[in-house]
């Protein structure tokens, strides 16, 4: 297989740190960003153009309710993004609770 993203082949359960709105947050390599958000009790993070607050919904990349900014690139689907060490995430909504 000629893979365009070899780093995403089956991984292990390695604990890593990502930045969510500037706050270091624990995550597990290979899980999606929506898993990280839910594991921290954050269930909404995207604000739609008309002001509604959304988060995970379809979970498979079709509904676009879970958009975040990843490493400066806006409008990235959290459910389709696997986390990696040092990833920098910015959300539309301020996240409250544990981290």
């Amino acid at each position: 297989m000629e893979n365009s993203n070899k780093e995403n082949l089956p991984g292990n359960s390695q604990s890593i740190i990502i930045n969510v709105n500037g706050i270091p947050t624990k995550a597990i390599a290979g899980e999606s960003l929506s898993c990280v958000f839910y594991a921290n009790g954050w269930k909404k993070w995207h604000r739609t153009p008309y002001g509604a607050e959304q988060g995970l919904f379809c979970g498979i990349g079709h509904c676009f309710g879970c958009l975040v900014t990843v490493d400066g690139v806006p409008n990235i689907r959290a459910c389709q993004t696997l986390v990696s060490e040092g990833m920098d995430i910015v959300t539309d909504i301020i996240l409250e609770g544990k981290s």
Partner: protein, 468 residues
């Protein structure tokens, strides 16, 4: 522009099966998938992280297929959206490492399906997620919530309930919209030969019984409440047309509601390619027309698996093989006779088609369920368009999905109408006394996925004006 013999869209069971079949015949194949890892939804790879859990038989199967894909010469582009398809079999791609435009001699569409959701007041609240989303969280050892209610239709409701119970999450009930039994009895024969499916179904059912989880037939959520997050859910009984029965409501408190009312094939790419679509009355959706070799009305364009017609992973695997053999022969790469190949797998094919018929007959929601949305209920989640907005457009004379889209912007957002097309079509049909066929669906147009403008320009540039 880059060129490939066969481009396959989707790396789920159907796409992987077609790719491996073609590669075996020596055909040059590229497989393009928007997920980060191959497998689609059925062979989801998330559980690889759960080294403590024993793999289920179908997960083991997925591991095998991925290994074969890995060992092959197949070009694989992950995290890549096919945002448009154009005549002369050109695919416009947006993803890391993928060419912006790819020209193919044949295309196999294996795009899969998404969950059919139903609009009811409160369905856009955080805490309301699909069954699939809940399964993915749970497979990653992340709990979707503390007190979970499951509402929808199909065996997945029971499977999810059982998975959550095993993870120690409180499941307060399962609401199955179908009045299962009268419809199920005539299909008992379709369970013949479905050992693995039966085993999983019965296993899940037993754990529901053991934990005394209420399983209600002919019931559905009808209202969800909470200020900034789900706090309580009202459910009701449904009549035979799935219409809510007034006065049958009960309210329970919960922080998570998982919904899933069957599946809708993702047919946007076959529409943009110009493939003729037909209305499937059994699953209440539009599907690409095709012949016994999985080929559509456009020569060299094949459509397989749940992205064509909901039949599950087993059927998708078989259809992938058929399309693979047929395309290889068409390209002059193989002497295998597609017709002979089909007769060779006839028993398995008819077994899976019987199951598919049973599934859609029992678990397709009746049109009454679309009466749950109220005036201020949002139907188009991307653009915030409500039932009242749709009614106003109807008052202005709109009576097709296309006209509704132009007047209201419904279906023009990021999801391109995938979440709301069926919801809005049903309301228009009801209000204007037209059939769903007359109302039609939102016409998908490229870009069917959002694409940064610079990448869009790059695709157009690389295709040297051959797009559109």
């Amino acid at each position: 522009m880059e060129h490939i013999e066969v481009a396959i869209v989707g790396a789920g069971p159907g796409g992987m099966s077609a790719a491996l079949t073609l590669a075996e015949e020596g055909v040059e194949v590229a497989i393009i998938d928007n997920n980060p890892t191959p497998g689609g939804q059925y062979y989801r790879q998330t559980y690889i992280n759960n080294t403590t859990k024993k793999l289920k038989p179908h997960q083991q199967e997925g591991v095998e297929l991925r290994r074969k894909l890995h060992d092959s010469k197949i070009r694989y582009f992950s995290k890549t959206n096919v945002w448009g398809t154009f005549e002369q079999k050109i695919l416009a791609l947006d993803g890391p490492g993928a060419p912006p435009a790819l020209e193919a001699e044949a295309i196999v569409l294996a795009t899969g399906a998404f969950e059919r959701t139903i609009a009811f007041p409160g369905w856009t609240l955080p805490g309301v997620i699909t069954i699939g989303a809940a399964q993915i969280l749970n497979e990653n050892n992340v709990s979707p919530g503390k007190r979970v209610l499951i509402s929808g239709t199909g065996p997945l409701l029971v499977v999810l309930a059982s998975e959550l119970i095993h993870a120690g999450i409180e499941v307060i009930g399962v609401l199955e919209g179908s009045n299962l039994l009268p419809r199920a009895i005539k299909h008992l024969g379709a369970l013949f030969g479905q050992k693995e499916r039966l085993k999983e179904g019965i296993g899940s059912w037993i754990s529901l019984q053991k934990h005394r989880i209420p399983y209600r037939l002919g019931c559905s959520v009808c209202f969800a409440r909470g200020e900034d997050h789900l706090k309580e859910v009202t459910f009701c009984h449904l009549d035979n047309d799935w219409k809510p029965i007034p006065g049958s409501e009960e309210t329970v408190s919960c922080d998570t509601l998982c919904i899933g009312y069957g599946f809708i094939p993702f047919n946007a790419l076959s529409v943009t390619l110009g493939v003729e679509q037909e209305w499937d009355p059994f699953n209440a959706c539009y599907i690409p027309k095709r012949n016994m070799f999985m080929e559509t009305n456009i020569k060299g364009v094949y459509s397989i698996g749940d992205g064509t017609s909901i039949g599950g992973a087993r059927l998708a695997l078989l259809e992938g093989q058929i399309a693979g053999v047929a395309a290889a022969q068409q390209l002059g790469k193989s002497k295998k006779h597609p017709e002979k190949y089909i007769s060779g797998i006839a028993t398995a094919l008819s077994r899976e088609r019987r199951f598919k018929k049973m599934y859609t007959d029992i678990f397709t929601p009746g049109f009454g369920i679309y009466e749950l949305s109220e005036e201020n209920t949002i139907l188009c989640r991307c653009e915030g368009i409500t039932t009242a907005d749709i009614r106003r457009a109807i008052d202005l004379g709109a009576d097709t999905s296309g006209e509704i889209k132009i007047i209201t912007r419904a279906g023009m957002g990021d999801c391109q109408g995938r979440m709301c097309s069926h919801l809005i079509a049903n309301i228009v049909a009801r209000e204007t006394n037209k059939s769903l066929l007359e109302v039609g669906q939102f016409q998908p147009r490229p870009p069917v996925f959002p694409v940064p403008i610079e990448n869009l320009c790059l695709s157009v540039d690389k295709s040297a004006g051959k797009m559109g």
